[in-house]
Amino acid sequence: MAKYVLHRLLLAIPTLLVLSLITFLLSALAPGDPVALRLGQHADPAARARLRHELGLDRPLHEQYFTYLGNAVRGDFGKTYRTEVPVREIMSEGIPYTFTLAFWAMAVAVAAGIGFGVLAAVYQNTWVDRAAMVVTLIGVSIPAFVLAPLLILLLAVRLGWLPVAGWEGPQYLILPALVLAGRPAALIARLTRTQMVEVLRQDYIRTAYAKGLTRGQVIRRHALRNALLPVLTVIGTAFGYLLTGSFVVETIFAIPGVGMQSISAIFEREYLVIQATVMLAAVGFVLVNLLVDLLYGILDPRVRAGFRRKA
């Protein structure tokens, strides 16, 4: 098991290296000069040359990349061009907000997704099923930047039940978590339904009924546990969506997380912040997927046996 984890972590290194190279090159080639950002367009050429040297921008690109990489491994992503604040500090300020939002969005997505999926499967081909699938179809199709203003208009402006945006108490979390949960909830619901329908046709389910168990017991003890295994994978993928989705949702709902910081960084051309965000997202994605695979192993003995063989 430990070897498997190590193997997976080693496999992630080339992925992260390639990604770091791409983000570095994109930042280096993007328009806008960091020196001009700090000193202005019409600064003294000597002062510009001095700062360019200080920032290491006068060195060859490959040298700059290796310096960046070396520092990044130590958790040093440099300082912002304009305000000279360490990027690590900006990230550490934003992560708790993004994490909190992602956590609650995922909690809503899992609860609603599994609930809708199970209902749809149990009442397969009835109006319940069709209604659940229509709702989830809307959930998958409607982007956050459309859903958010709609919910704001309805629940905040028209009904006045919730605040519009900000981060001033738990009630401020409800709308953004709902918006961010929409798409993963819909995906989880559709997959849960498919899996449940499949599992409910199995012989052991019929056997369970024959033993005299109630429908609730059969679903909880036998059907759901088996049906949920593939759903775990979707949760892993959904995590990626939560990170990218948070860019939009945090901006609309004024949540000072990594997403909103990145949007500001893009406007301000603070490329080091953008690089750090991409790397952070990549590391997070790799770790969550690893976690999902390990959970798979814990829940499914067949996969666990696979770990041993590989190890």
Binding site: G40, G169, I252
Partner: protein, 532 residues
């Protein structure tokens, strides 16, 4: 466990940061006299020497003071300077400072603080991108900016409460430049004690004190009880940082903000909304939107007839109605209303498609034949500008037979390309840094200045503005600028389009806001009265 962690995170905010704690829910409870209005972006700095963007200036003008300030009549009036005298040759300004003014940390303000603040702003180590623009008229400023001197010869403390500033030449607009934050007083002790992070706890003399800067979330200010003009009526100001236009609008509708900006798209809806229409406020701003015809990058623009033809071919009234909901005022000239020298009787080059075609034919392009391909470039993601540019390109095609393609550019790239002189034809805005015609005519259209992206050149124009820039007699000075403006308009140096007008929504409870052409003045007299 995870849930507990997430919940804890919600309450604690940024546990690992060494900067002041950053979530809005840890702030003080807002009193009934707390004004809430949004910041459109995270403040770029709390250092007045370095600030260059409007939203941040609006925060800093509450924290710091300068020698002088704007009033509601757009006049420069005393602030920390009680009075001043100007030498007969117009080069030496002697300011008498107010007695008993204190920084937020209790230190008294003396003339030496201004000597320090101005030299600090000029010091290359401060990396101010704006000191060169606003303080460069001071004798010796250029040497400090270039790193050749530590202090500017032209700034001296003559006793504790007398400051003398000597200019390199007489400049009638100098006092206007001192209204900009680069010249504000900063506390040397606070900066030296605060080290790299002093801007997290800025110390000024302003009517409000920074209570909390929750990065990317909220800026909170509280009233300065010892303010030299008396304590502000408000207890505090809250500035939630809201990047999204729709969010700001919805928060206003929901009663979560007292004021907010309004886009032209929303304006159309709001003016017909019975709940909102009475809350709309329209303000002219000292800014012009114009089209620059770059004579170096696009040789046909070197012909005056071509430039005039383009001017006569654009029906500004229709464009303003179609693209701008009839809000902004048509620009016939360069100087916006409110800027000294603005000429309401200036007719400019009127819409006359027949004359436009004739001029173009005289220039050698009858019916637009043989005219090289032309692209109009403008800043991306500006819906109003895009609509305007599309309609303007249609008019040029219809009236001149010239095909104009449109190109939207990311702002940074746009500025780069424009500063390198690569854009032949672009649509841009210029907003006053201070209310003086020099800031428009001499800066934008004098031969060879860095902002003269049109590469316009007329020796007579240059002679007039050079003379006006150093002239002491205000009346004669304005006359010279007016003459220069008429020359530039007749030469069709630009296509002046319209003057900026801002639309805002205000809760009726907000009272006592002082407004100038430059924007809201510091909320020293503002208060909230009634349900809000």
């Amino acid at each position: 466990m995870l849930a507990a962690l997430a919940a804890l995170t919600f309450l604690s905010g940024c546990a690992t940061s060494t900067r002041p704690k950053g979530d809005a829910n840890t702030g003080t409870t807002a009193s009934a006299q707390t004004l809430r209005y949004p910041l459109l972006t995270e403040p770029t700095t709390m250092d007045p020497a370095r600030v260059e963007d409007g939203p941040t200036i609006d925060v800093l003008q509450h924290l710091y003071d300068g020698l002088v300030q704007w009033n509601e009549k757009n006049e420069v009036v005393p602030n920390l300077a009680e009075s001043w005298t100007v030498s007969p040759d117009g080069r030496v300004y002697t300011f008498k400072l107010k007695q008993g003014v204190k920084f937020h940390n209790g230190d008294p303000v003396t003339a030496q603080d201004f000597v320090y603040s101005i030299n600090r702003a000029l010091d290359p180590k401060t990396q101010s991108t704006v000191a060169g623009t606003y303080l460069n008229d001071i004798l010796g400023a250029e040497d400090v900016l270039a790193g050749k001197a530590q202090t500017a010869k032209g700034v001296e403390a003559v006793g504790d409460h007398t400051l003398r500033i000597t200019l390199d030449q007489p400049k009638a607009y100098f006092l206007s430049k001192l209204t900009y934050p680069t010249a504000y007083a900063v506390s040397r002790r606070a900066i030296e004690e605060g080290g790299d992070r002093w801007t997290e706890k800025p110390v000024g003399t302003g009517p409000f004190i920074l209570d909390q800067w929750a990065h990317h979330s909220m800026v909170r200010l509280r009233a300065n009880p010892d303010y030299h003009e008396g304590r502000p009526k408000l207890d505090g100001i809250e500035r939630p940082i809201l990047l999204d236009t729709r969010t700001r609008h919805s928060k206003f509708e929901n009663g979560e903000l007292h004021m907010t900006d309004v886009t032209m798209g929303d304006y159309d809806r709001d003016k017909n909304d019975p709940k909102l229409k009475d809350n709309l406020k329209i303000y002219p701003r000292p800014a012009i939107f114009y089209v620059s015809m770059n004579q170096k990058a696009f040789p046909p623009f070197q012909k005056k007839q071509v430039r005039q033809a383009f001017n006569h071919a654009v029906d500004k009234d229709t464009l303003i109605r179609v693209a701008m909901r009839d809000v902004p005022k048509r620009a016939n000239g360069i100087l916006p209303p409110g800027i000294p020298g603005y000429d309401p009787n200036l007719k400019g080059l009127e819409y006359n498609p027949e004359k436009a075609r004739q001029l173009l034919a005289e220039a050698g392009y009858p019916g637009g034949k043989g005219f090289p391909a032309l692209t109009l470039t403008f800043r991306e993601k500006q819906a109003d500008m895009r609509r305007f540019a599309e309609a303007m390109a249609d008019q040029l095609e219809k009236n001149l037979g010239i095909q104009v393609s449109l190109r939207e550019m990311e702002w940074g790239s746009f500025l780069d390309a424009r500063n390198k002189g690569e854009l032949p034809f672009y649509y841009l805005r210029w907003m006053a840094d201070y209310l003086d015609p020099q800031d428009f005519l001499s800066i934008m259209l004098r031969t060879g200045t860095s902002e003269n992206g049109a590469n316009y050149s007329n020796p007579e124009f240059d002679r007039l503005v050079d003379q006006a820039d150093v002239m002491q007699d205000p009346q004669k000075r304005i006359e010279l600028y007016r003459k220069a403006e008429r020359i530039a308009v007749d030469d069709a140096a630009w296509i002046p389009l319209y003057f900026q007008t801002d639309v805002e929504l205000w809760n009726p409870a907000v009272k006592g806001v002082r407004e100038s052409l430059m924007g809201h003045l510091p909320h020293k007299q503002t208060y909230l009265d009634g349900p809000n």
